[in-house]
Symmetry: C2
Subunit: 430 residues, 2 copies
């Protein structure tokens, strides 16, 4: 092992990060936004840019693990390592920062550490493959394989995209064998990872609403997702007096409004304790202007950082569904779609993160992440934390998604400081 | 002109009507229900049955008018005439009585009157073409042409069915020229019609709910139909706290529930004064489980027999939409789909109808018709009334739609008496 550096790290700076982000956006976006959909040509173009950049600036190679995650490693005095990164893939017509911010800031982190000589521990920058799941519907594919939570044969082998291409064929086109994806877990473990850090755009309006450039992410919320079917009786709208109806849509409407109340009732007053409840899919049958709905399917997505709160919200929603069904003389049935445990982040890293965010923004607002991130997979196997850069406007998966440059600057600096502190910490305990 | 009959009419009977209905159902239904969709082969089969029956039992021909309506005429002492009928066409997989009841009861009426010699006025039985609009979406096609309210070039020329067949071609297949359909109006006027009568199954639960075999139809309700678009902001369900959302679906849900309240508030306590409000189409965009709805389109169908009440309901619904939009920080836009005036039926004929229904059922419950009928078109040009036979169950456009035989019997008898009385009335005033 080489001995640790003697030179000091230069102060964190965001200038090259912002220039790199602009360069990458130019190369992989069109007028509708970023087009880096995983496994496709524009995504490969983003990775080609990444490989060139890493070679040019760091003289380091990019290595693919068996799940298609791309790794850049800067050897340290110890083989113990800190892992950081995010994802270059995007949804179709997505934002210029979603995912790439964390990868491009990671390149800067490597530049900064390399310039100071051999770091005390090894640094691994990772570009996770297919975080979005935009083409095949399974998100966090690469990080889940790496965390050992992906059953590729069961979850991926049967998936087909809209144009009929099977996921195993799309993988093969990118040099990945589905049957070997699980080996990504051993690949990660062999790198003795002691911490995982990720910088990501918030993709929501919380930081903007409290006027904070960056935030400390407490963890990713747990998710309970169901389809709820209300069944009544389809009848002619003109012929059936309102009191004699069994209107499944009205039952679903009452249910959706009650679920909003559940979300509000279980939310604390601060961003830290917020929970959400959302009905995003509504399918009304028969769906004619002249027909009272006989069947309405409605989705409910509940999220909370606290597993106990999440369970209570589910109970309250089930009660609300019964009330809505009874009032409209309908029946109700629940079908589970998804259940994800909350992933609270590591207390020590949260402390480092708060210090770093406070240093560059004056305060350290804490918030949970409602959306999932690759960090949620990593949190299952090692201490993890995330920094959020403010979204403005607070919308996501659109070309309009943005972080104002002054906030971007502070977020990148806070992330670089967080990494620096984490490296010291891992070095001192390894 | 021949002189009027001397023989008395035999008492009304339903036996042959019920036998004929069963015979026709057997010939034109399958295990999913009636399949007599207008302009198609099974509908032509129904008309072939009708033609044979009329020839065999009455020795009368069936004549098509320029809109494809099928007429059977029994000459009376006067050319002044009473018109009665309904439609042989059905929705796909419809009920065995919807439409055909009025036509088949009409055959019995002709048999009964013919057996007594020459009637005092001329009797015209009509089978209206394409009442349902099941294949091309335009209902009351034949009766509207006959009433002079159809602009065939504008309303029909462009229509195409699901398999790509143009309506003008489907008409031609049945010997009808679109450009000549308007001549159906002169065809009717030339017959000096003085009254129109129709027996139809209720297609709703009102008579069943008050335990009445048959009812006196006060008229067809006016309809105001709109699409209402709520626009908010599509955002990530996990990332966006509930108080910061602009959830277009929740706005639509509040609107739909408020519209139910509008319907209840403007309904009187009796079937006679009921009104309805229905949201049957709901389209939620983007419609993902993880997305708050940015746009929701919802249909509103308002119906009332009183035009003033209908206008007030519309005002109340517009107010409710504003409130729902504001509460959810959305905008709202209205697009008109349909506006049909109420068609109250003729007071004199309503009196005859009440007497006839009371004679055979013991009472004369009055109710408006929410669904439209060919009678609504006739009401615009001559005194009109309808008898409803109870639906049990009170559902429509399904093979399950039915009238219990004892109620069917009484309804047919009441209709035959109503016609008898109307013929006397027209004879006495012509």
């Amino acid at each position: 092992m080489p001995t640790a550096r003697t030179k000091k790290l230069t102060p964190p700076t965001s200038k090259r990060v912002i220039a790199d982000l602009r360069e990458l956006a130019k190369r992989t976006s069109n007028e509708r936004g970023a087009q880096r959909v995983a496994w496709g040509p524009v995504w490969r173009e983003a990775r080609a840019w990444f490989t060139e950049k890493v070679r040019a600036d760091l003289d380091l190679p990019v290595e693919l693990d068996p799940a298609g995650n791309a790794w850049v490693s800067l050897k340290g005095a110890s083989k113990d390592s800190v892992v950081f990164g995010s994802h270059l893939d995007s949804v179709p017509s997505g934002g210029w920062l979603d995912g790439v911010l964390g990868v491009v800031a990671g390149i800067e982190a490597l530049r900064r550490h390399k310039a100071a000589g051999t770091p005390p521990v090894t640094l691994h920058l990772v570009d996770w493959a297919d975080e979005e799941g935009a083409r095949y519907g399974r998100s966090l594919t690469g990080s889940a394989a790496s965390a050992g939570t992906l059953d590729a044969e069961k979850e991926l082998a049967h998936l087909v995209d809209r144009s009929g291409v099977k996921l195993p064929d799309a993988l093969r086109e990118n040099g990945i064998e589905l049957a070997r994806m699980h080996e990504a877990h051993a690949y990660l473990k062999a790198r003795d990872p002691k911490a995982y850090l990720e910088l990501h755009i918030e993709q929501g309006p919380v930081l903007e609403s409290i006027k904070k450039p960056a935030g400390v992410v407490l963890g990713t919320m747990g998710v309970l997702r169901h389809m709820v079917r209300f069944k009544g009786q389809a009848v002619h709208a003109g012929a059936t007096p309102i009191p004699l109806r069994q209107d499944a849509f009205l039952a679903a409407a009452e249910f959706a409004l009650a679920c909003r109340d559940v979300g509000l009732a279980f939310s604390g007053k601060t961003p830290k304790t917020r929970v959400v409840a959302t009905c995003g899919v509504v399918k009304v049958e028969p769906g004619f202007v002249t027909a009272v709905s006989g069947t309405t399917d409605i989705s409910l997505d509940l999220r909370a950082l606290d597993a106990k709160v999440l369970a209570k919200m589910q109970k309250a929603a089930e009660k609300a569904a019964k009330v809505a069904a009874k009032k409209n003389r309908c029946t109700v049935e629940w079908s589970p779609l998804l259940a994800i445990e909350p992933r609270p982040f590591d207390p020590t890293l949260l402390g480092f993160c708060a210090d770093a965010v406070k240093e560059f923004t004056g305060s350290a607002p804490e918030l949970p992440s409602g959306p999932l991130h690759d960090a949620a997979e990593m949190a299952g196997i090692m201490p993890t934390v995330m920094v959020f850069a403010q979204s403005s406007p607070g919308i996501s998966h659109t070309r309009l998604e943005d972080t104002p440059i002054p906030h971007l600057d502070r977020s990148v600096k806070a992330f670089l400081r967080l990494l620096e502190r984490t490296v010291e910490h891992v070095a001192s305990t390894s």
